[in-house]
Symmetry: D2
């Protein structure tokens, strides 16, 4: 099927034309630099070209905090508009060919039609996300007491049923992963028995697991806190992996960079989950304090690099299979969401590219000899490289923009949409 | 003026009658126990009877997170209903005689009438809170770029003007403190210049300060993060006290228990602020992770006791005056807000009572002799006491309930209000 | 065998005599108070009388930091003197009948004789602790590159061998648990491959496991950081339980209160480990910042209570057996270690006693009805009780001191030992 | 005076010769790349050439934790050997021309001679560090109860006197800064009165301040915790700046990257201290958990870049003078300290160089327009640059090594010293 990307390919090409000579020169010089160290830049370009990360439909809209949300003129207000914006990201960045839908936010009457609509825009569907942390108008039972772990059996049944429905919809959309994140937990010591609450989780989750098609995975997402503030049922990777073990081989763990306790070594968690065959996916974002959902790599790009370093080690040593689902999961509170997704996609690919440049033979050799300085330098040398030419090369060759932000701004997309789309009203969590 | 409290005083008295003999026995035994140690329980009862803490009008409604808010049938939806609920708390707990309003949430046409309405319910007004972290319908300028620190002079002027208006309204209500908390900050490194942004704060805050009546105070409230996630302009007590010093003697610092970095010793901050004459007030709540706004003392009651220990030391050694404004500042996401305020008020008074029971001569003597064990035991012995009889004695003598929760539930208040008040719709921060 | 406790039983009895009437009065009043709520204080006394917690031999000496250690005149410098001091604690506190030895710090020629020596002092031996985080004079291989996870096979073999020797010695001493804590980890990203390093751990630990007698347990102790500062091999309960699962049924997890990331909900970890049959033991201490090793309950006694609340729930619901090894594990840097152990033992027993007083039917009922206020109050009512009379009653009945610190100071023990024992030199660290 | 650097300049030159063509090519290409953006690489080289950071004498030895210290064959054991090793660092890295001594660790009989000895090695002396956190053999009073804040006046007087003596020695050595870090604090709530303890600090510090020569500064170093674990007297920048304000204009604040609460925004603290004219210096290191003292930039190089970004803004806008003292302050537990200092110096200079490359006009313009994406990109574009050629160019031109680690290893320095120097015994801690 011929796709109809949202922006003018000619305009992108025209803009790229101004950069292409410089890009070639930079790339050639970088190739020579890396060749001196025995590193093959072209291999990295090929790997980068094959890399992709999903973007969530809700990431196309402005995010907010419990205090406020400041709407953006022209932001999308339904799944169709969100798909358009995601298609803009994919057209320019070329590494985000799939979107991850959220139900019931993205509910439509015709999912087969939605899949076609996406395909025309050059997009497919990635993991489907259920939502049992909010009440929807007309819903029989409230999730005020929790969802999969509620003490009320009717609430639990409703939450299981919603997840099963998500699987059904996901099948129509071409998904093969169901991501289950619940906000269940407590705000007071004693509010619930921590053990029995977890037993209810396992029981409910088994109900969902039973409905999974054979080629699907159920991705369990843990989070330390928020919206529950004393305890959270699936609070860390330990609980997550034990639950996944109980559920069965199709259950895997999903790591979100912002869902951990302060100071935790997240790259080590990646290593551990892989060691036990349970690393199912990754939600990319960044944070300084809590689950800040900031743009990927904006706060601690070195950590993102170290995570990719583990992912590449995992790929080279696939203990029980290694096929993680990658997604950007950010809240774009102060930027144009398209710009944040473009910048974040670039940051992610850059860290991936740097991790590809690590001389792994030198690294492993230094590790085996306990040459601490050289082992660290093996990573540091790769991190220090400016991989912009590698990433841009791969992107331009795929039809994307050399300078993604400049191309986006030149397109005038948001201003046009501000004329066409209906405005979003004020809103926030606490009023 | 004769007050008309919302609940039946007779019913409260009847319920108390069942407990009064046991209370007397418990109190008498505790007096004897404490007398053995040379501690005067009656003096503590007198101090407890003189203690009070304000409650915020918005605390009478259900709170929410950015993910969801689950409404409660019968919760108040305007300032008049909120005053009623606060009056219930005061009638039962007898330590919350003042409410702290929030503008524009509590906007009315007639503030003189509102003051009379509150007085009839047995309530006065405490510090007034401005709000420049949200946009209101019809507001000329958005706070999307910040408020007192926005790079846009028109936005700053609007934020200053709103605070000046709050002072005007507060004068009508009988307040004498203006609490200024702003959410201004950044989500990205480089988004704003950290130094110039703070200069703009000082400039704007000076404009507000200039409008303060002579007998008013301006309470600066710091917060580590949220809603800004990379940097916050008034991020800690250090910035807060430096700003207060720049502004002048009427500017003081307000400490909120949940607004600090992990592991920070908050009681020491209380001590430092007092040492430099800048401790202006306290927002009580509790937290385990971030600014969780949980019920006071529910997570770490010992910390609350240690804070009161510093407040009592400060009171005995009033370096530059000591008259802190106390307020409960919690988000009641999963309880009936009246119950949370009743329980929280009790927890706060209990910690205050325990701190009163510390044998300060023994404590200071052990400190001076570096007798670590005995210095610690001087605090621990007081913390260990079950002060329930002291607190209940003071409450019952003031006309409150012996068992506040039982009396509240017996009143049937919430069920009645669920019949009378209009329901609250669904809502949340992220949808 | 008749024991010869170190202090004069007569003197203790004389001192108790001054308190016994007041204690009886306090206890009787408490019994009446609790009876009103349907709680049986005598049952609590019986449970408290049956409770015990081990003390570590090294806890009898002054601890230090990397910056300094300030010796105490009269502190013990060998296992024989340490046993004496531990016997003083047991005689006064009566809840610490076992000591936990550390090898090679407590190495002697005759372990059978050491066991008799301890028995004469009224002491037995608890879990034995191996030490592969320090080099000892004359040791063939250094642990500079790690121990069980070193890249050097000879180092790993030495570390395994040391643990096997610990088991042999433990058998002679009457132990039945081996506690394995390693400091292995890295200070630099890339220093070691996180996955292969953990594989080496599993391989080495299996070698130790194979040497365990049938009735022994191997307790794996995790720690977030220190002495390694970028990554630690057994860094959290997730890695710990996965390792224990790999090793087999005799491998269990040991929780130390100070070894977690900031803000982590430790009581929930207790619940999870029990849920999967892997809760093997507990190291009691307290902390505000890191692995501070402060006295139990000195910083956050409510957390200690919540931990005991989980332990009691676990005891009532023993999924795969429940027989945790309890030990005090503190660094006594600024107090007389005997005083710290006395105060800590009391704090631990008090939190246990409070947890015993929880009305669990009311708690579970409120949980099942989602009555958040009442569920929390079920815990809070028990925490609020001053259980001093219950704990003192049990202690006095067992021959201990009513006021443990006063009795210890009256004994003049430390001053006598300062005359008898050889002085300790200046230094730093924990040995 | 002709200096006698420790390594063969010829060997360094020979090694450089192999790299110089490649370096020139890389540098030329980078110049062209940067010129396209309007950035002048040569200006950056000039600034880098003028940059320096002190290294501490104690950093030349192996560091340890409270658990253990693993000696390195050939590490220095006296100030003369330490100077030699520091000279090796300076010769190769060319940005560390000054050493910072620590008393009494570096005590000698002849300080004038020591200054000459250093000068011959190409070294001068930077800030002098006092030590009142450890007891020294033969010292009249112990610091067990604290030093400048001890409740014992004789202890305080001794601590003041030691600092005054440090100033005297520093004058002989050519220093002009005294760095005062104390470990004073408490391990128990109540151990000391937090207010009176701080008053004693101010009193003692005034005594030191009074002895400062006119052209000296007193640098106050704060630290959140360790060796004190409940409270620390100078615990954060807030207390530090208030103390510095009380003491007078020669008192400034020193920021150590590892001495803050988790998640704290350190670059903002730099900005605040500068805003109030009190930024006196910086201790460079890195950390993941606490005061880990890891190698600078090894964990979070982006944070180091953001700190330099603030320092450069401060330099361009020198509110009350701006002349910060920079020092590397690390504990080299697992590497050859010379290698760690070489790598750290390079990491620091690289982050400085990246911050120099920020297009500040573009940054400020985007900030003023609230163009969040472009403001962030202004920083990110500079951070992404591989500045290795700039830094290497400046180093080689100054006579240093192109590849510092390779040159150091080629010199065989450590092996030679292992033959010559006396071995260090086992132990723990930092001395």
């Amino acid at each position: 099927m011929a796709t109809k990307p949202p922006l003018s390919a000619d305009q992108i090409a025209d803009l790229n034309a101004k950069h292409v000579n410089d890009l070639d020169r930079d790339y050639d010089h970088l190739c020579r630099q890396l060749a001196r160290r025995g590193v093959d830049a072209e291999a990295a370009v090929a790997k980068v070209a094959a890399f992709s990360v999903a973007i969530p439909t809700w990431g196309a809209g402005r995010g907010g905090t419990r205090f406020a949300k400041f709407p953006l003129a022209g932001e999308p207000t339904n799944i169709h508009e969100k798909l358009q914006d995601c298609a803009v990201v994919q057209q320019l960045a070329t590494v985000t060919p799939r979107v991850s839908p959220h139900l019931p936010w993205d509910t439509v009457d015709d999912y087969v039609g939605l899949r076609e609509e996406a395909a025309e825009l050059g997009l497919g569907f990635d993991a489907i996300n259920s939502n049992t942390f909010q009440d929807q108008a007309g819903q029989p039972h409230s999730y005020a007491t929790g969802s999969l772990t509620s003490s009320d059996a009717a609430v639990r049944a409703q939450a299981v049923e919603h997840n099963v429905e998500c699987i059904e919809i996901g099948r129509k959309l071409g998904s093969r992963d169901l991501t289950v994140w619940i906000g269940d937990g407590t705000n007071f010591p004693g509010q619930q028995d921590l053990g029995r609450q977890f037993d209810r989780y396992l029981d409910s989750a088994s109900g969902i697991y039973a409905a999974l098609p054979d080629d699907w995975r159920m991705l369990l997402e843990h989070k330390m806190y928020e919206p529950a503030f004393y305890s959270t049922v699936i609070q860390d990777w330990g609980t997550s992996i034990l639950a996944a073990q109980e559920l069965g081989p199709k259950a895997k763990c999903l790591v979100d960079l912002g869902h951990h306790a302060p100071n935790v070594n997240i790259e080590q968690i990646v290593s551990r989950l892989h060691r036990f065959g349970k690393l199912g996916g990754f939600h990319f974002n960044d944070s300084k304090y809590g689950d800040d959902d900031l743009d990927s790599g904006s706060i601690n790009p070195h950590q993102l690099f170290l995570v990719f370093n583990e992912l590449i080690e995992a790929e080279r040593n696939p203990r029980d299979g290694f096929d993680p689902a990658y997604m950007i999961d950010q809240s774009h509170n102060v930027t144009d969401p398209i710009e944040s997704m473009l910048v974040s996609a670039e940051a992610i690919v850059q860290c991936y590219a740097k991790a590809l440049l690590v001389d792994r033979d030198a690294l492993h050799d230094a590790q085996d000899r306990d040459d601490v300085t050289m082992a660290f330098q093996a990573l540091r040398r790769a991190y220090t490289v400016d991989v912009t030419p590698i990433v841009a090369k791969a992107r331009v060759e795929a039809g994307g923009a050399c300078d993604v932000i400049a191309a986006y701004r030149a397109s005038g997309w948001r201003d046009r949409k501000a004329q066409e789309r209906k405005p979003v009203g004020l809103g926030a969590g606490i009023v």
